[in-house]
Assembly symmetry: C2
Homo-oligomer: 107 residues x 2
DNA sequence: CCGACGCATATCTCAATAGTTATAAATTAA
DNA sequence: TTAATTTATAACTATTGAGATATGCGTCGG
């Protein structure tokens, strides 16, 4: 079973899909049709990508008549931020331990 | 040609490869053999993943006799951090504009 | 010098998935 | 009701890439 990091990285790895998410972040809520215009792929492809983004918790949809409006959910990026700072943290702590070691060696 | 974000997301999307990078972050420099033991895949698979990580600038290698030592390069994560905060920034600024609009409507 | 060791590369296979077109389903307009 | 519009789903194709095994290449110990 894939954890949150897996889902996020895998979902955002595709350029087309990430571009869709970026547009929703930049420009706010958009219909499928509006997104399709500049997506460079067919409407079914856009719908499928939006489905994957929704599954990952990165977007939500709102139905209004015969159109569906999608918008970004920034909160879903939290695990990504945490992962990144965790990696940086590990690196930093190893650096600190090295510094300690060097300090002790000086004495 | 894929930009820095593309490379990073694509490289870190694979669980096995990301696990290798995480170990290098947590535990520092490791040989291919040491990494292979706990990787759950064959040694050639590990070598290939390390090659991809190196290509992405996420790790560097150091040859010593007949073994190769790999270590993480945290700086390579910068574009990822920037992308994330950029997305959050777009969201925030749209929120601010909405707030402004509501304030103006109040008057 | 020769065999074992450590890693990288070559080649192949298989599964996952992004894309397509065709079509269904639901809503609105005429 | 019929036709047009909007989105989602179905079915298929093609590509990508992660994994395996086999092997090549350099290095160390005996």
């Amino acid at each position: 079973m894939p954890d949150a990091h897996d889902v996020l990285f895998r979902t955002l790895a595709d350029p087309t899909r990430r571009a869709l998410f970026e547009r929703l972040c930049r420009e706010g809520e958009k219909t499928v049709g509006a997104l399709t215009v500049q997506a460079g792929v067919s409407q079914p492809a856009v719908s499928k990508h939006l489905g994957v983004l929704k599954q990952a918790g990165l977007v939500r949809d709102r139905h209004e008549g015969r159109q569906t409006h999608y918008s970004a959910l920034l909160g879903a990026l939290t695990p990504l931020i945490e992962w990144t700072s965790q990696m940086a943290g590990f690196w930093q702590s190893r650096f600190d331990r090295l510094e300690d070691l060097l300090n002790r060696m000086d004495q």
